[in-house]
Amino acid sequence: MEQIDKKHSPGFPLLKSVLKHRILYAMLIPGIVYLFIFKYIPLFGSVIAFKDYNIYKGIWASDWVGFKYFYQFFNYPQFTRLLWNTLAISFYQTIFAFPAPIILALLLNELRNAAFKRSVQTILYLPHFLSWVIIGGLGYMLMSPQVGLINQWIAAFGFEKIHFLQEPGYFRSIIITSGIWKEMGWNAIIFLAALAGISPSLYEAAKIDGAGRWKQFLHITMPGILPAVMLLLLLKIGHTLDLGFEQIYIFLNPITYATGDVLDTYSYREGIIQGKYSMTTAIGLFKAVVGFLLLLMANRASKSLTGQGIF
């Protein structure tokens, strides 16, 4: 099509094509306007990371302070711990929480009874609609040494009750497990969609060639969802430093700061609550830059290893 256009109008091929598909381009406008207003204009607000932002003076009238807030942030004695906790939890999420929905989708895909499959799927994605506050309450009801179900079992077997929520050693496991329980079913939907997109003719051909379920899985299903997996993995890596504030905040207490205090919770506690907006913006900017660099590296690695990338 493009080539035909080129032949007929060597002058302005792009303009011609835009005119020709003007309805499609018109439909693009709301999307672009949305991105511009809600994603690009707020970017300018990031300058307050370099200013002594005063809400009464406004963004432009506040004084420039250069990298003051970055220095302050990097000089926080526990800065390395914040970064380490963030990276560690993110790493565990990638290792344990990321594959969970893929495995679930693959298992569901092998189910042949449609009614059973649907009901299982529905039950598994219901927790997605619960807020973290409620899940925090459920966690308490399970793990509290006074009323918790798990601790009642432990006591019934004659062991000492465990303060799960007051022990730094359990914190990351609780975060990862609750995260998997809440989001696994929901995240599986996208992989189920990818699986549904694989042409049934491939399976039929494989069957005729004598491939069993395992071989079909290995040579058709896996390659079929790999692009979706790589795409989501790259996006996850781009968000390495964004762990989901609520989840961690709900379970965090001063004793578990040691393993659970992350960039987001610190910036909430020391920044937002105390009205230090420049400081929180500096932290946010730092996170964005690190996330972008990680994304670039992961994208390159992915391209050279699998040939898949997002740009």
Partner: protein
């Protein structure tokens, strides 16, 4: 199915619209009390006669405290004007954006005669010469104010010896008191503890004596809440506060968190932990969990706001009626080896009224506030006008308050009132002498104990150098035995080294300049 969904959505939108319009009407409400025709009339008469008897015009800006503001011809405003010989022009601004709107007015050069705030005036207004010092005026025209406002409240609005506002004293100077289950004490034949050691004995008895009578060792002798909060009375046995409490100690202004006296209470709570006398979940208790443990009758001692003693008694009588619960407030026991003031920090003021230099007749303004502080004025501010909202029985002179009309005069209490705790008025309003006895006892204790918090009246701390995080973590570790007490001393030194010293220098410099 689809229809009900639709109805639900429509309802949601309606509710939202209602709330939004209510909010906006609140905002646009601001001019209502200004009574234009009356104002001009009085103005004319004022100019014509110019006699001292003519009512004095006072322009006042206040927050509506999110309470329905009075209408322009509200009889209480008329009454107030008559009694104080003034012509009041009170502008009620929406509470949520009050200080911002006020700042905008000031920025455009509009200064009322009086404006309301919750602290002394801001530094730039003082330095800009906009604020009138009231020392002499109060001496001359404010005998009731002098008699009824405690020194701590004056101190909170005094800078360099100049009184810059008329403070409404807080109902209670201390915000937290110690609650105890009196019925548990009675059941186990125990006295109210007066020292930290006696408290320890009481808590041990609560743990072992099965005071809730269910045969299970499920009592929680003492409980507090997440982030080491609502335990201030334990720290208060040695006179330290942990949240934004500043002390002038050894020629420095320091936060209570690094005051040497804090080591004792930390050690004490750690002992409670080791003996299982404190709620094992005190680091994770949120309000709901904490309250439900108390309501379920597991907790023996806890700290809370004094005004809530009636609430606790009502709640517990409903939830564990079979135990015949009785909750009282007790004075903070004295910590061993400590002889300073006990309890929790003072927050001595509730709201303030600041007089600007634009006021033409400041004497009249002081007289206005002085009348509100008189006996007659106090009755008016709490109960309204006789025959309208309260009635005096002709036979025995007993006053009854019409609680149904209370909502209509709430603005008097929140916006106009300048006096603090008035037992008699509180009793009449409460209408329940038994509950009033609990409340009066709680208020009396909260008004007699406690200590000065130097932070009151100082500019807020702009950068606390990670104190919140570092304190909570260091203290929590010591409290549950994850670290020895020496680690806390290390935190005190570390915090100072990583920037805390600069904060101390800033605060001390301000103190030396303005308070010494």
């Amino acid at each position: 199915m689809r229809q009900t969904k639709l109805i639900a959505i429509v309802c949601a939108i309606l509710v939202f619209a209602l709330v939004a319009s209510a909010c906006s009407s609140n905002g646009s409400n601001t001019q209502t009390p200004t009574n234009a025709p009356e104002q001009t009339k009085d103005n004319v008469s004022g100019q014509a006669t110019d006699a001292p008897a003519a009512p004095v015009k006072i322009k006042m800006v206040v927050s509506d405290h999110s309470v329905q503001a009075p209408g322009a011809d509200d009889p209480r405003i008329k009454y107030l004007e008559e009694k104080t010989n003034t012509d009041l022009d009170i502008e009620f601004l929406a509470h949520g954006t009050y200080l911002d709107q006020l700042k905008l007015q000031f920025a455009s050069g509009e200064f009322p005669d009086v404006y309301q705030s919750w602290s002394g005036p801001e530094l730039d207004l003082i330095e800009g010469g906009k604020i009138l010092a009231l020392n002499d005026l109060i001496d001359q025209y404010g005998p009731n104010l002098k008699a009824n406002i405690p020194q701590a409240a004056w101190d909170a609005v005094t800078v360099k010896g100049e009184i810059l506002a008329i403070p409404q004293p807080a109902l209670t100077q201390s915000g937290q008191v110690m609650f105890i289950r009196k019925d548990w004490l009675n059941k186990l034949n125990l006295q109210v503890p007066t020292t930290s050691d006696e408290l320890l004995e009481v808590l041990r008895a609560f743990r072992d004596g099965d005071p809730n009578g269910n045969g299970e060792p499920d009592e929680i002798p003492f409980s507090m809440r997440e982030n080491i909060s609502w335990g201030d009375n334990i720290f208060g046995m040695w006179g330290v506060g942990t949240a934004w409490t500043e002390y002038y100690h050894n020629d420095e202004v320091i936060l209570g968190n690094i005051h040497p006296n804090i080591l004792k209470p930390l050690e004490y709570i750690n002992a409670l932990w080791n003996e299982k006398l404190i709620d094992s979940e005190f680091l994770t208790n949120d309000r709901v969990r904490w309250e439900s443990k108390i309501r379920a009758g597991f907790v023996g001692v806890w700290g809370h706001a004094p005004a809530l003693v009636t609430q606790w008694n009502t709640d517990l009588r409903a939830s564990i009626a079979d135990q015949n619960p009785e909750v009282i407030v007790i004075p903070t026991p004295r910590g061993t080896g400590y002889d300073g003031p006990l309890g929790t920090r003072w927050s001595p003021i509730n709201k303030t009224f600041i007089v600007t230099k634009d006021a033409e007749n400041p004497e009249a303004i002081i007289r206005y506030f002085d009348w509100l502080m008189s006996e007659e004025g106090q009755i008016f501010a709490e109960l309204g006008i006789e025959g309208d909202t309260f009635f005096t029985a002709t036979s025995d002179g007993r006053i009854t308050f019409d609680a149904k009309k209370a909502e209509g005069i709430r603005w008097l209490d929140t916006v106009v009132r300048v006096h603090g705790y008035n037992p008699e008025m509180t009793r009449i309003k409460l209408g329940d002498d038994e509950m009033f006895a609990y409340l009066d006892e709680a208020y009396t204790i909260a008004n007699t104990e406690g200590f000065v918090n130097e932070a009151v009246g100082m500019p807020p701390i702009a950068d606390e150098r990670n104190m919140t995080t570092m304190f909570r973590e260091a203290a929590a570790k010591v409290l549950i035995g994850h670290a020895p007490l020496s680690d806390y001393e290390k935190f005190m030194a570390d915090w100072r080294a990583q920037g805390g010293d600069d904060l101390i220098k800033e605060r001390t410099a301000w103190y030396n300049e303005n308070r010494k």
